[in-house]
C-alpha cells in the first residue's frame, strides 16, 4: 500500500469516493448486523480494502456494487464466525433447521399497504429498531431478500443454510416484524386506514 500522506491528490479523491458511498456501506452493514458499532468496524474494513483497490474502483460504474458486495460478505462472515464461536456456550433457542412451516400462522389480518409517511426519518428509525429485535438468522435472511434482492437460493448459498431454513426464517421474520411495527405505532392500527 502506498503511503497516503505522500499522495494528497489520491487521498482527496478517495475522501470524495468514501463520502459518496459511506452511508450505503454503513446501512448495508447495520441492517445485516443489527449493531451500529460492529457495522462501523465492518464499514472501516470495507473502505480500507477499497483503498487497496482504488486504482480499479475510481471512476468505475460498478464500484458501488463492489462496495456493497464486500460489505455484505464481511457482515455475513462476522455473523457466522460470531455464531460458531459462542454456540457452544449459549442457551440458544431450539434449532430451526429445515423445520416446520415457518411458525404460527397470522393472528391478525394483513393490511393491503403501508402508509405513505413510512419513508420519513422517524419511521425509518422505528423500522430499523424493529429489525434489530428480530433474531439474527431471521434478520439476515430478511435483509438479504428485501434489501439486497437476493433469491432464496442465493441466500441459502451465501449463508450456508438449507433452502427450507431460509424460507422459514424469512417467513418468521415477516410475521415477527408486523407486531413489532404495530408496537411502535406503525402497525395494523395505522395500516388499516
Amino acid at each position: 500500500m502506498q503511503n497516503p500522506s505522500t499522495e494528497p491528490a489520491r487521498l482527496a479523491e478517495f475522501t470524495t469516493f468514501m463520502r459518496a458511498y459511506k452511508d450505503m456501506v454503513f446501512s448495508t452493514a447495520t441492517r445485516l448486523l443489527g449493531n451500529d458499532a460492529q457495522a462501523e468496524d465492518i464499514s472501516q474494513e470495507v473502505f480500507v480494502r477499497a483503498y487497496a483497490h482504488f486504482d480499479e474502483l475510481r471512476g468505475s460504474p460498478t464500484s458501488g456494487g463492489w462496495l456493497k458486495t464486500v460489505a455484505t460478505n464481511l457482515a455475513i462472515n462476522h455473523l457466522q464466525r460470531y455464531r460458531r464461536r459462542w454456540r457452544l456456550f449459549s442457551q440458544m433457542e431450539p434449532a430451526q433447521e429445515d423445520g416446520g412451516d415457518g411458525g404460527a400462522g397470522l393472528e391478525f389480518p394483513v393490511p393491503d399497504s403501508m402508509p405513505a409517511e413510512l419513508d420519513t426519518e422517524q419511521h425509518r428509525a422505528l423500522i430499523e429498531d424493529a429489525l434489530r429485535e428480530l433474531p439474527a438468522d431471521q434478520r439476515t435472511a430478511l435483509v438479504l431478500y428485501h434489501f439486497e434482492d437476493l433469491s432464496y437460493q442465493e441466500i441459502a448459498a451465501r449463508l450456508g443454510a438449507s433452502l427450507a431454513k431460509v424460507k422459514t426464517d424469512i417467513r418468521r421474520a415477516r410475521l415477527g416484524l408486523l407486531p413489532l411495527l404495530e408496537a411502535r405505532g406503525i402497525g395494523r392500527a395505522s395500516l388499516d386506514h
Binding site: 468514501m18 472501516q44 456456550f89
Partner: protein, 157 residues
C-alpha cells in the same frame, strides 16, 4: 393458489413495501477518521508485516524461490533418509521408502516413550485434562458474565 399462499404473498408485498422505502442510514461521523487512521497504521508497517501481496516483487520472488528449494530439499532428503535406513540397497519403490520412514519414526517414538517413566505420562495427561476443563469453565463463565448479562441488559430497553 390457496388462502395461505395468498396471505404469504400479501405479507411479502407489505414487508417489501415497508423496507424498500427506507432511506439510507447516515454513517457515523467518526468513520472517515477511523479509515484514515487504519490506512496510516497499515502504511507505517514494515513491508514484511503486510500481506504477502503487498510485499516488494523481489521479496515475493525470493520467498517463492526459497520455498521451492526447501520443498525440493525435503523430497531429496527424505529419499536419502529412506536409503540410509537400508531399505534401498536395491532400487526402492516410493511405497517402500514411505514404509521405511514410517517405521523409523515409529521406532524413534517408541524409544522416546520407553525412556519416560509411566507415572510422568499419566500425570501429564491428568494435568492436560485439568487445564482443558479449567479453560472451558473459565470461558463459559466469562461468556455468561460479560456477554449474556450485557446482552440481556441491552435487550430489555
Amino acid at each position: 393458489m390457496n388462502e395461505r399462499d395468498e396471505t404469504d404473498l400479501k405479507l411479502e408485498r407489505l414487508v417489501d413495501q415497508a423496507l424498500r422505502g427506507q432511506p439510507l442510514r447516515r454513517a457515523p461521523s467518526t468513520l472517515e477518521s477511523k479509515v484514515f487512521e487504519e490506512l496510516a497504521r497499515q502504511a507505517a508497517l514494515p513491508w514484511w508485516k503486510r500481506s504477502f501481496m503487498q510485499w516488494p516483487k523481489a521479496a515475493r520472488a525470493l520467498l517463492l524461490g526459497v520455498c521451492t528449494a526447501l520443498g525440493a530439499l525435503t523430497i531429496v532428503g527424505g529419499s536419502r533418509i529412506a536409503v540410509g535406513f537400508g531399505t534401498a540397497l536395491r532400487p526402492a519403490s516410493e511405497l517402500d521408502r514411505a514404509q521405511a520412514l514410517l517405521s523409523a519414526a515409529r521406532d524413534l517414538f517408541a524409544t522416546l516413550v520407553g525412556t519416560i517413566p509411566p507415572m510422568w505420562i499419566y500425570q501429564g495427561l491428568a494435568l492436560a485434562a485439568g487445564l482443558y476443563v479449567a479453560l472451558f469453565a473459565l470461558a463459559a463463565a466469562g461468556y455468561r458474565t460479560l456477554y449474556l448479562e450485557a446482552s440481556m441488559a441491552g435487550g430489555s430497553r
